[in-house]
Symmetry: C2
Subunit: 199 residues, 2 copies
DNA sequence: TGTACATCAGTGAACGCGCGTTCACTGATGTAC
DNA sequence: TGTACATCAGTGAACGCGCGTTCACTGATGTAC
């Protein structure tokens, strides 16, 4: 890892690593070309061997953050069995990610003027959608509702994560029972029936 | 308005006006001290007579954007009669504001290191909360649920506004029926019962 | 197996620019007497 | 009603800094023959 020879260093990975490390600490503040080049002890120009522009670099770091989120969601899902629990685990993990890693979360959804070099893998959106498709397979929602349900649940979780992790004095409290209450209300919005009736 | 004399101009208002104008066009990109001072044909130092720092100026412009949002929500509410319609009008207006004024919306919730000089007036959050309190007065929700419901509905609407107004290729479609579907699902999450049963 | 050479992946210095902020200073306004 | 003077609200130039990007160049690697 420390073998920073003149040549043949895995500079791209090192830049992304440094970017993620910086993102954790201070969000999207210090993700510039010169700053990160200095961080990995490299000339600024070297960055352009691997990224088309500073925006491209930022976009790839943002992607790293999203993929980390996706991995945590996948990990959380693996511990649950019922489709409802699996679905709620994705939302809970999403919110916890935003609260535990505010810098990384803000970078994950920062606006970039350039696209990343490849598609997200794993993709947090796909993980979310898959858990909705599972609800569909179980007959809890109809196939035609999949897109609507995904958008609704994603929006509610994403909005809560943004607001609770923000600095507004009126922001929602980030307490477990509040989060569970939110997930419960999302569930009502998904199945459109009260749980008691469903049972 | 054009009386830009040496002295006695309402520079503070002019700066905020220019900031809002710039925010509409390009979000939070060009809200710096030097840029806005130049925009209103004034020396940069003059800005510091009215704002403690560049961050303070940005915070006040952000506040202007939030207050504009709040005014539109109030206006929309005034056309509705039933509490449900009034509530949904706030959410619909919030989303439409984000879609029609993406720059202003992003500035409204941009992170600022300094607080604004006064409280929001009108406050979008208060408008939202008031419409939830109306639901409570009508007996549709319990008093103890007010905070939970406000957080849930605010999160869902805010998240949808952020995602739909973003640049992600997987973002929700910004079509009326999608938005109405979202508002309907939020309503289920609020009352926790299907509408048919309620009637 | 050795060598010539193209290519790759970096160096190091510099550019123009806009940023937030500060300096000493000044023209206009308001007020006390 | 006039005047002296404090205060207010600006000017204009400059600072140090970090930004994205570009220049010509070079050390290391890989490959054809």
């Amino acid at each position: 890892m420390k073998t920073q020879k003149y040549h043949h260093g895995n500079l791209e990975a090192a830049l992304l690593e440094a970017g993620v490390r910086e993102a954790r600490i201070s969000g999207s503040k210090n993700l510039g070309v010169n700053a990160l080049a200095k961080e990995v002890s490299v000339s600024p120009m070297a960055v352009y061997r691997h990224f088309s522009s500073g925006e491209g670099l930022k976009a790839s770091i943002s992607q790293q953050a999203r993929e980390e989120l996706a991995r945590r969601m996948i990990e959380a899902i693996s511990h649950e069995t019922s489709v409802k629990e699996r679905f709620e685990a994705t939302g809970r993990t999403y919110i916890q990610f935003a609260l535990n890693e505010p810098g990384l979360f803000s970078v994950a959804f920062v606006a970039c003027e350039a696209p990343p070099k490849r598609e997200d893998s794993p993709s947090a959106w796909m993980v979310f959608q898959d858990s909705v498709l599972d609800l569909c397979n179980e007959g809890l929602i109809q196939a035609a509702e999949v897109r609507q349900v995904t958008d609704f649940a994603w929006a509610a979780v994403h909005g809560y994560a943004n607001l609770a992790g923000g600095s507004d004095p009126m922001r929602p409290k980030a307490e477990p029972e509040i989060i569970e209450g939110l997930l419960e209300r999302i569930w009502f919005g998904i199945v459109k029936e009260s749980v008691e009736i469903k049972k």
